[in-house]
């Protein structure tokens, strides 16, 4: 049913489109940014370093960390906000003793779809970069994709927690976005950054530049555990909420 929700509502298009778009345009813009700046005119001289594999992948990641995240949050919010429409919520909640039974497939499918879209975009970015600039290391890309998927699972956990705290899907999406945008700000606190799930967003870029994948294992563990914990807490809150 959750796959049907994605397919029949065409939400999969909205989810996939930004990842594919930035997968192609990120490396393309990186490759030709010197020419773009040269043609700006106006007597301004812009010094741009030669395009690199790391830059191209970073361009993809930075773009999807905004628009892609928005799409993931929206899709997940509309799936997990099961109390958004009381009549449908009454239908579902009087037919099962456990809200978790309703939420688990929604969370899993949302996270899986988001992860698949991120990976698909990364494949596009890899191909475009390989054609235009140079071949990114496959191992780093694979490991980076895995860390990205873990981060997106954490995102779905955040969305589910908000679904337990508020009913409307719009409210769930907005509050989740605020949380996810604010989360990286905690990195200014000394020693906090390696624990922040948002650090995983840049993992693929760092690894294409040579950082070892083991640097992100701890963060991935935290993201996975907190994502599951947040989703569980969200389910508990929904269960306890009256319709």
């Amino acid at each position: 049913m959750e796959w049907a929700r994605l397919v029949r509502t065409r939400r999969w298009i909205g989810l996939l489109a930004p990842f594919i778009l930035f997968g192609f345009t990120g490396p393309l813009v990186t490759r030709y940014q010197r020419e773009l700046f040269r043609n700006l005119g106006g007597g301004i001289r812009v010094i741009v370093p030669p395009p690199s594999v790391g830059q191209a992948i970073d361009s993809y990641v930075k773009n999807v960390a905004q628009i892609g995240l928005l799409a993931v949050v929206a899709v997940a919010a509309w799936a997990v906000a099961i109390d958004a429409r009381p009549e449908w919520a009454a239908f579902l909640r009087t037919r099962t003793n456990s809200v978790r039974r309703l939420l688990v497939p929604r969370c899993v499918v949302s996270a899986a779809a988001a992860g698949a879209c991120f990976a698909a975009g990364l494949v596009c970015a890899w191909y475009e970069t390989a054609v235009l600039i140079g071949r990114p290391p496959v191992g780093a890309m694979l490991a980076g994709a895995c860390f990205g998927v873990v981060y997106l699972a954490f995102v779905v956990g955040v969305v589910t927690l908000w679904a337990g705290l508020t009913r409307s899907a719009v409210g769930v999406a907005a509050l989740s976005l605020v949380t996810l945008v604010a989360l990286p700000l905690l990195a200014v606190l000394p020693g906090v950054e390696p624990w922040l799930p948002s650090t995983l967003v840049g993992a693929v870029t760092s690894m294409t530049r040579g950082a070892p994948w083991t640097d992100y294992l701890r963060t991935a563990g935290v993201a996975l555990a907190s994502g599951v914990g947040l989703a569980w807490a969200g389910a508990r809150l929904i269960e306890r909420r009256e319709l």
Partner: protein
């Protein structure tokens, strides 16, 4: 006292902020009965059904039921479904969630019984309110519930649809127990054997409809006769056992008598002596609507 009850509440109270929606409701629904919950808007019917369904918690009081929770089916007054699901998928989802052991063929049967067999493959996004109400009913009956809670099940249906649904409710009452709220009193009178009258969160009456009506029946007769009516009315008013004789229509008199027995014994003779050309005489029946209006006024 018999233990054939399915639901029993004791002093049920529900408050929202400072507003008291239920103020100590104690009701008892017998197994195999069709229980009609009537009351004006804001009486607390929906809140009571939501508590019985487990969707809301009472502020005070208790609810006891002999039916396991998974065998309690609920239909809200305005059912809404995911618009991208087909009617078959909605009913099948209900079946798979609550009673996966029930064969899929029951889904077709439920759709057929609610008159939706022809649109089983259509997405519900384009359904009318009446069709959604039928679909809600189909998705509640597919799991063969032991207790069916229906909130205004006929509210959006045309007369033909209402008749079908009421017939279905009557049939369901034979195999399980049905509790339904309605403001269409004729529907309640038609299918319910027990009625609960709710006003401002209080249960004013609970019991068989016949008992409710019998308690409030007035000793009066409706007499249809040919004109002129005035001399007949005057002759009747002169009788010591007649309390009043009023024209209620162009050819109808309402004769209120001291007792039904007096009327049964004396009325026909008095009419004959007055030279009345009588078409019909019948005792005035108390209807639920009149009683309801009296009770909730």
């Amino acid at each position: 006292m018999s233990e054939r009850w399915v639901v029993q509440t004791q002093g049920l109270v529900k408050t929202y902020g400072g507003v008291r929606a239920l103020a100590g409701v104690s009701l008892r629904v017998e197994a195999g009965s069709v229980y009609g919950l009537v009351g004006p808007n804001g009486a607390g019917k929906t809140t009571l059904l939501a508590i019985l369904a487990g969707l809301r918690r009472p502020t005070a009081g208790s609810v006891r039921t002999t039916v396991p929770r998974e065998r309690v089916a609920v239909m809200p007054d305005t059912p809404r479904f995911e618009p991208w699901l087909t009617a078959f998928e909605v009913v099948d989802l209900a079946r798979s969630l609550i009673a996966p052991e029930v064969p899929k063929s029951e889904v077709d049967l439920a759709l057929e019984r609610t008159g939706l067999a022809d649109v089983a493959g259509r997405r519900v996004g384009g359904f009318s309110r009446g069709m959604l109400q039928r679909l809600g009913l189909a998705s509640t009956i597919v799991s063969r519930p032991g207790l069916l809670l229906l909130d205004e099940p006929c509210a959006a249906l045309d007369p033909a649809g209402r008749k079908e649904v009421l017939d279905l409710v009557t049939r369901l009452g034979r195999s399980g127990t049905v509790l339904f709220s309605s403001h269409i009193l004729s529907d309640v009178q038609r299918v319910c054997d027990t009625v609960g009258v709710l006003r401002e969160g209080r249960l004013l009456f609970e019991g068989p409809i016949d008992a409710l009506l019998a308690d409030r029946v007035r000793p009066a007769f409706l007499v249809r006769l040919r004109r002129p009516l005035d001399p007949v009315a005057a002759a009747l008013r002169a009788q010591p056992w007649v309390r009043s004789a009023e024209m209620t229509g162009a050819s109808e008199l309402r004769v209120e008598v001291r007792s039904l027995e007096d009327g049964e014994r004396e009325l026909a003779g008095a009419l004959a002596r007055a030279g009345a050309r009588v078409i019909a005489i019948e005792p005035e029946a108390a209807d639920l609507e009149t009683v309801f209006l009296e009770m909730t006024a």
